[in-house]
Amino acid sequence: MGEAIVITSGKGGVGKTTTTANIGTALALNGYRVCMIDTDIGLRNLDVVMGLENRIIYDLVDVAQGTCRLQQALVKDKRFESLHLLPAAQTKDKDDVEPEQMLEIVAELKKNHDYILIDCPAGIEQGYKNAVAAADQAVVVTTPEISAVRDADRIIGLLEKEKHVEPPRLVINHIRSNMMRSGEAMEVDEIVTILAIDLLGLVLDDDEVIKSSNAGEPIALNPKSKVSIAYRNIARRIQGEQVPLMKLDEDTGLMAKIKKFFGIRS
């Protein structure tokens, strides 16, 4: 039986889709059977990031409404036999899918997948509810920006009410260590202190992410990039391995730690 993991954030554009595509790719790379579901109905783009747009025949709404069978809608990845995508509908409405239907679809997918990754739309409305309905675990994506952290906090509060979801884990994306060092961006410790959840991984901001997403080749396929290693490490932590966090070469002196503990900026 597979595990369903929702990737969510509250705020848009922080990297949910990128995170889903790369964790999915990294898990498949490690030999797991993975299905990614794009629940951002009306604004689908997981298929584009994966380079699978042209292969789409049916979508999530078609499955929910019984227009096709689940297996018919699954798009097979170009690179991995064991990686599938259930794309979102581009032209339909968010309300065309109900949380109960998500439960059915995910239960069906769990039979022959190890991980089901659910890419959640921004916001806390119907789309969010659908995405969370069938999740066993949650990954909250944020960036070192006060507004993104605020929304992540709101989402964590909502996720904590969902008794079927394990305590969410955090991915901080778009990290620019020079901005953190100069105090222009929030620091990792500050974010983790406020959100008070376990850290799953840190992902640097890197133009290569945009390039690879435009090419439809998730960066996790590239063994050399730091961002790719970050995603692969996140995948390993999801698999249950203990992997130390990447160093961000920041000031870690005792005084700096004490200051951070009390939230005082140097």
């Binding site: 006060i146 605020r150 906090d153 709101r154 008070a196």
Partner: protein, 230 residues
């Protein structure tokens, strides 16, 4: 001067000033008549020095005086005889009042991280072991004590108790309210600093919401200081 067999209203001087002791067995109607008669009879005795008001405390003994009855006594004393009432005392409470007092004294303990968008409302005081994050709000009719960071909004004394306080291990609120008094932290860095460790917020004598070190509370709110001085 007419002599009464039974005196329902007794006026006497105490160390704190004049006290009107009201009988608690007779009917309220009779009591009011007697009160009026007594006041009329002793009008000269009542005459306060020129330009000054006469102050009394009213003691109703074991009679329950509801809000309407209290208003009637006040109307008689304050409007007709220009005597101002400093305090209205009674040895009995209505069940409702007693329940409210109990609730106000109740301390609720909770372990929680209050997150953006969450609002918690407590009757009585609250001890929160956890944080109040930015965008979250904690409200209590009594005081608020936080073993953690206060970064969101805290509102103590929501039903008007200005002697309520707000304490936090780490104080960095986005807004503080005590009763109807609202303050938010200064927006430029030159003004007083609102971030600190083990701080408390209270309303001072001038009615200004003020921050100070929590250790000052024993002096600021001696009524809650507790042992060993009790």
């Amino acid at each position: 001067m007419t002599k009464h067999v039974q005196q329902y209203v007794v006026l006497r001087g105490t160390r704190q000033g004049l006290e009107l002791k009201l009988d608690d067995k007779c009917s309220f109607h009779l009591l009011m008549e007697e009160l009026e008669r007594t006041l009329k009879e002793k009008q000269q005795q009542f005459a306060a020095p020129e330009g000054r008001e006469l102050h009394v405390t009213v003691d109703a003994g074991f009679r329950y005086i509801g809000p309407e009855d209290e208003a009637a006594v006040r109307r008689l004393l304050e409007d007709e005889f220009a005597v101002s009432i400093d305090a209205f005392e009674s040895d009995v409470l209505s069940k409702q009042e007693a329940e409210n007092m109990l609730k106000a004294q109740k301390m609720t303990t909770m372990y929680h991280v209050l997150r953006s968008g969450q609002v918690v409302e407590i009757e009585g005081s609250v001890l929160l072991i956890g944080d109040v994050n930015p965008g979250a709000e904690i409200k209590a009719t009594g005081s608020i004590y936080i073993l953690g960071s206060l970064k969101g909004t805290a509102h103590a004394g929501t039903e008007g108790e200005v002697r309520s306080v707000i304490c936090a291990s780490f104080m960095d609120p986005s807004q503080l309210r005590i009763a109807h008094i609202v303050r938010h932290p200064p927006e430029n860095d030159e003004e007083e600093v609102w971030r600190g460790i083990f701080e408390c917020a209270y309303v001072n004598e001038e009615g200004v919401l003020t921050l100070d070190r929590s250790v000052k509370l024993s002096a600021l709110r001696p009524e809650h200081a507790g042992p060993p001085d009790e």
